[in-house]
Symmetry: C2
């Protein structure tokens, strides 16, 4: 069996999630914590690869014994979050843990993921939003916001999202299904929430940049379908900076989380 852990992290100090030769990553810190808790080297498989500076409110990963599927431990599962968190820096926290079958795969079994993009929309910076959101000083009016909301709806559905993928990516199948895409405002914060069965490289940051272009009047909501159809990165908005991006939810099919599940669909 493996342990599926849920993690939150402030990505500011890390070169992204995945282990890299140059620079500290979240995965490296999880590896160290797992070895300290279980007493032997572990394999950590994450649900996703977040970029440098990107945050996670819910990131899922499995822990197994290195080069083996099964992990053994005498620590009760409900104590794992505190035990691992005790060996992690304060910007990474394990808050949940459950046993899953050896057949479970933290990345391949993901059904849907949800991201948030957070914009701080006020003329001056806030000390409390620093590195936690993207600061856009020019005020978006209610009318601007309504146009962004209308544009966000146009992303919903099954589309080829090549226009919203970073250039240079080797991915060729760019068809994804967005099931939720909405813009809300609370006080000085504008929040873009998007859920899909998968995302291309930089896709959420480019979708958010395209919505900002709509808010700024550089694009109209009516332009969105043709930007999507053109499959041309240069027609979409800019890639927004990483500090506004949060992995918010990771959804697995119910049967994958059942312990008696040994097959794979």
């Amino acid at each position: 069996m493996k342990i599926l852990i849920k993690i939150a992290y402030d990505g500011t100090a890390y070169c992204g999630y995945q282990v890299q030769p140059n620079g500290v990553t979240v995965q490296q810190r999880l590896n160290e914590a797992a070895e300290a808790v279980f007493g032997y080297p572990c394999d950590i498989v994450g649900c996703s690869r977040t970029d440098s500076g990107v945050h996670a409110l819910e990131f899922c990963a499995t822990v197994s014994k290195k080069s083996q599927e099964s992990l053994q431990t005498s620590i009760p599962i409900e104590r794992i979050p505190l035990a691992m968190s005790a060996h992690l820096p304060t910007d990474i926290s394990v808050y949940d843990a459950v046993w899953v079958s050896d057949a479970f795969h933290a990345r391949y079994d993901v059904k849907e993921k949800e991201y948030l993009y957070r914009i701080y929309n006020r003329s001056v910076r806030s000390p409390f939003e620093e590195r936690r959101s993207c600061h856009l000083p020019k005020h978006f009016s209610d009318r601007d916001l309504a146009r962004m909301q209308e544009a966000a709806k146009c992303f919903v559905g099954e589309h080829d999202f090549s226009s919203y993928m970073a250039q240079g990516s080797k991915i060729t199948d760019c068809i994804r299904t967005i099931t939720e895409s909405e813009v809300t405002r609370e006080g000085d914060v504008i929040l873009y929430r998007v859920r899909a069965n998968g995302f291309l490289y930089h896709m959420v940051r480019i979708l958010a940049g395209t919505l900002v272009a709509v808010g700024e009047g550089k694009l109209s909501p009516n332009d969105i379908p043709s930007v999507t159809e053109a499959r041309n990165r240069t027609l979409a908005g800019i890639t927004m900076p990483p500090e506004g991006l949060y992995l918010h939810r990771v959804i697995y099919p119910e049967h994958c989380l059942r312990l008696d599940w040994e097959g794979r669909s």
Copy 2:
């Protein structure tokens, strides 16, 4: 005339608000920014002295020319927040500025101040609450919370608050009037909000510590009036740590903010 500025700051990196011989303070950073913007040394008078690690969502201070009441500048008042913020580190932000009369005093003219005390109530830490709240891992039930809410109400009114003042303070008149005192919960955050015409040294942190003692069952809401009447610091709760404390609002009488106001009541 003087300029009244409104400031937000994350107090983590500072030895409190007021200038000190050892360690960097918020006031020192404001002094440097004001001199950079106005071109001459300035006097900064703050509304309060926050302790090391304490935050402010709204802190008020006046800027005047050093050793003189009046300040002259060709910069339009509406540009002052951005101009000063440009010379401040990212954990301090000036977000509003108005002209006030020379007779205005940022500290003596305060009518009421409101503080928030933020408790993160979850078994594991959150990376996003680190140094922004006090972490209490033991869960407060709805019943515990109701008792804290009942206790908070007992602080309202004119009382001698000696029981809630740090020992060693030289203040002798400990009578203050609390006008609002309430505990709310939103998700994993418990928030204590308290407004008064003045606060004694460490008073909000001790009031919050007393409410936590009530939540933990060490005190009953019915004990609060007698704890207050005893004027005995040892009967109240602990002094909560600074990272949960936020100066939230500073209220001046309307007439003090009028430019034609030259008297003092």
